[in-house]
């Protein structure tokens, strides 16, 4: 079974989840080409077909795009996608800066664990809409929030220590 689950999953095999995902990514891309600037609008993908027509039962066949970036791109267009990229750019930038300036090994370990966790979620969101699916969205953003909190907490701790040192002098 394990062999079948891993080896048979190719784009050429129409029954594989990979082939089904690929088809959805193509649909999302077609929709993005159709509505490049602002997208179709949030939630419209539920009934949106590749030709732009709306189908009430379409959600059964195409419930998700299985990619967070395609999700944003098709529903919010290029502007939405750029904004989304910017959020991740900032998260990455803040995290890397924080790792570089951390000298306490214990802090570094916790921080590294959280960053690794967010990376895992981000990678997974390439094959699933981890950040938008109702079952996983709140938990995923919570972990991102936890990372940001820890970085700020660390900063505050460092500042407090510096103030104490100044007072002591």
């Amino acid at each position: 079974m394990i062999e079948k689950r891993i080896v048979d999953q190719t784009i050429e095999n129409p029954d594989s989840s990979l082939a089904k995902r690929y088809e959805r990514w193509r649909n999302a891309f077609e929709i993005l080409k159709e509505y490049p600037i602002l997208g179709t609008g949030w939630g419209v993908y539920l009934g949106m077909q590749r030709d732009g027509s709306l189908n009430e039962t379409a959600w059964r066949a195409l419930p998700r795009w299985h990619n967070s970036f395609f999700e944003i791109a098709s529903q919010m267009g290029i502007f939405g996608l750029l904004s989304y990229y910017f959020i991740w750019y900032r998260i990455g930038q803040i995290s890397i800066n924080s790792v570089k300036t951390t000298h306490d090994y214990r802090d570094l370990t916790v921080l590294s664990g959280m960053i690794a966790s967010v990376v895992a979620i981000l990678i997974y969101s390439l094959g699933e809409q981890q950040f938008f699916a109702i079952e996983t969205a709140s938990f995923s953003w919570f972990i991102v929030g936890l990372l940001m909190f820890y970085i700020n907490y660390q900063k505050a701790k460092k500042e407090a220590l510096l103030k104490l040192l100044k007072v002591a002098r």
């Binding site: 966790s117 895992a120 997974y124 938990f139 972990i143």
Partner: protein, 131 residues
Amino acid sequence: MAIVICSTIPVVYVLPNLSEMTEFEHFDRTKISLEWGALNILVGYILPTIPIAISLGLNSKEILVKSGCFSLVIINSYILLYARTRSGWMSIIVAMIVFTHLIKKRKAFIITIVMACVALIILVIMKQLRS
């Protein structure tokens, strides 16, 4: 505490969700449950702690804290990933590489890379044998 949480959550959460994992390919759920569950726990929980455990030394007290801390966050994300296959495993491998690199444990980092390469080689061999 972290270790207890890490050990309990996958069992409590992953096993009842097995049926959902198999929906797509219409496998016989009764036959795969244990095998699949064991594999997911192995890949998602036990394997990620090995490089850290080895690099810290098996007698070190820190191993419990550090591998536990890592497992806790990683397992939490793993659970969120529904403990599914390739994309879930891939994200775990990338997370392990990032983690071992960030904690500046060269040995753990190298072991992780080697493990990832071995997994890739096995996959390629399996594909070759199939075709």
